[in-house]
């Protein structure tokens, strides 16, 4: 392998695209280089559940033929990508990090997978994740913990932990993820990567295994806002197969990146800086906002008076929707099936008890409880009302500002095993991210510094369908700083 090829893993998606088009290296060489990198540098991280090397090389060879023919080729021709293992991939294992689906081979592709493949992307594999995306540390995966490349004893966050780690450790330039309460933004923050969760309905949920249908949204984890814009432009858009897919036209995200920061009104949420935020995280987030101000952005203090209720609201709404979505796993049509059931009830109960892990069972039971007769009004209906209040708070704030900037997480990465005994401590990790899901808003996390050698994320949240603002703000920040270029030692 030439010296050029040896360093291909360090390049961003946009840089790789230029190299492929200039004939500097082939898609096959790129694919081989990354597969070998995953095998060597990635061996300790457990970022993948399935690798699809042979399929990837076949796709890469086709990409090389298309590039050699010249003319119009798909915008991602020959570029590598990894999918979170809850996107259905035709003919490829799709486990959702669960024992109950550990033999499930999807008969069809998710819309996200289909769109990226049609654009020419080369899928290298499926990334590890918290079971059914229920977790904030990647410790609920049936396939074992994912390790944070910044320190192997630490959690990378979750639930899209495998995707974040694969990108952070320079195993792949980009990966898909999903975000129900922070599952793209939190692991992006804890691994020093760039992650965007678009507006609810912006990207089709078709073929994305459901956890909480009114909160789930697909997005990407990359190493730059520029790469995120490239991918989101392809993933976003109406899909009639998703009943909540938005018909809002998709703007040219890449073209919006050069919008200047001058005149941008940045909201600082008073409640974000109350108790609970690590001092060093606070210092770095404020320093990042100062960078935006130096370029002509103005800051306005805003209040989200009900935001402190977002985590309890989420832990009623999400489990309620989860308990109903998870009822499809019954051992009859797909997935794990208990052996020698005595009757139908025994088949259901044993299949589910053997197949689901502890956190998934807890959420199913929490949801069953809040939806059960006598408790529905007190919990589920009340949570839906508080969700309305939280959403209205954001609407009021966005009358004064274009974007809200603040912390993504309260602290840098925490130790594996640290929070597994107390579900509430774990849930509170998503205190800054959950609001965007409840209100259906786009949110983004970008690296804004290091504390004790560990990355910290700056979160940007905007009104619905303001992805252009978030991406351009992030891109401008990344032109002025190099935090997104920091690489964990040894990688």
């Amino acid at each position: 392998m030439s010296q050029v090829n040896a360093a291909l893993h360090l390049r961003t998606l946009c840089e790789l695209r230029a190299g492929l088009r200039d004939g500097e290296f082939s898609a096959t060489e790129l694919t081989e280089a990354l597969l070998s990198r995953i095998d060597s540098a990635g061996s300790e991280l457990n970022a993948f559940i399935t690798l699809t090397g042979e399929q990837a090389l076949a796709t890469a060879r086709d990409a090389d033929k298309a590039l050699a023919r010249g003319g119009d080729v798909g915008p991602l021709t020959g570029l590598p990508i990894v999918h979170k293992d809850l996107f259905c991939t035709r003919g490829v294992l799709t486990t959702c990090g669960s024992h109950i689906l550990d033999t499930f081979v999807s008969p069809y592709d998710a819309a996200v997978v289909e769109r990226l493949a049609n654009a020419g992307a080369v899928m290298l594999g499926k990334s590890n994740m918290d079971e059914f995306a229920m977790g904030s540390s990647n410790e609920t995966s049936y396939f074992g913990d994912v390790k944070n490349p910044w320190d192997l004893s630490l959690s990378p966050g979750g639930s899209s932990g495998g995707s974040a780690v694969a990108v952070a450790a320079r195993l792949v330039p980009a990966a898909t993820g999903t975000d129900t309460g922070g599952s793209i933004r939190q692991p992006a923050a804890l691994t020093g990567t760039t992650g965007i969760k678009p507006t609810y309905g912006r990207v089709s949920r078709y073929g994305m295994v459901a956890f909480a249908s009114s909160l789930d949204q697909a997005g990407v984890i990359t190493r730059s806002a520029e790469d995120a814009a490239l991918l989101l432009g392809i993933m976003a858009g109406f899909d009639e197969r998703d009943s909540t897919s938005s018909q809002e036209p998709v703007p040219d995200y890449s073209a919006a990146l050069d919008r200047p920061l001058k005149g941008l009104r940045v909201g600082i949420v008073r409640e974000h800086f109350d108790e609970g935020l690590d001092e060093e995280n606070e210092r770095l987030v404020k320093a990042a906002v100062a960078v935006l101000e130096e370029q002509g952005a103005t800051t306005v203090e805003v209040s989200l008076p009900n935001i402190n209720l977002s985590v309890p609201t989420y832990y009623v709404v999400a489990p309620a929707e989860c308990s109903s979505n998870m009822s499809r796993f019954d051992g009859v049509r797909f997935g794990h099936r208990a052996e020698n059931p005595v009757d139908l009830m025994d088949l259901y109960c044993r299949t589910r008890s053997e197949g689901f892990g502890a956190e998934v069972k807890r959420r199913i039971m929490t949801g069953t409880y809040v939806l059960s007769a006598g408790y529905y009004d007190a919990y589920y209906l009340q949570a839906q009302k508080v969700r309305q209040l939280i959403s209205q708070d954001f609407k009021s704030a966005f009358e004064q500002v274009d974007v809200i900037a603040g912390p993504t997480t309260p602290t840098p990465a925490f130790a594996l095993g640290d929070k597994t005994d107390d579900p509430i401590t774990m849930y509170l990790n998503d205190i800054y991210t959950i609001g965007a899901n409840l209100a259906g808003l786009p949110g983004m996390s970008i690296p804004c510094g290091l504390v004790g050698g560990l990355p910290v994320g700056l979160q940007l949240v905007g009104p619905q369908f303001s992805e252009e603002t978030l991406l351009s703000c992030a891109h401008q920040y990344q032109q002025l700083t190099d935090w997104h270029k920091e690489i964990p030692e040894g990688f």
């Binding site: 009114s214 309890p312 832990y315 019954d330 049509r333 044993r350 008890s353 919990y379 009302k385 969700r387």
Partner: protein
């Protein structure tokens, strides 16, 4: 609020789950903590607030009632371990 063992077993039954005897105490403890945590919602003043079920303010889209999918039964059924003559097999339900 603390849940009782009986309550937790009832919830598990509704959810079609069984809890091993040696895990019951831990499940009761953790579920009780979750319920106590979400109980803080009760204090929020929500009189007259319209419940929000969905983030997008749109009505449900309809499509023409026509067949759009091809018959892929064999491929879809390839994921089950118990199939006979193209039907899913479950334990006997009717005597």
């Amino acid at each position: 609020m603390s849940l009782s063992k009986d309550q937790v077993n009832d919830i598990a039954k509704l959810a079609r789950l069984t809890i091993d005897a040696n895990e019951v105490d831990d499940v009761v403890d953790k579920l009780s903590r979750i319920v106590a945590f979400v109980d803080q919602l009760q204090a929020a003043p929500t009189d007259g607030v319209v419940p929000m079920a969905h983030p997008l303010n749109t009505s449900q889209r309809l499509r023409p009632d026509t067949v759009t999918e091809s018959d892929e039964r064999d491929r879809y059924q390839a994921n089950t371990s118990s199939l006979r003559d193209g039907f899913y097999v479950v334990p006997k339900v009717i005597d």
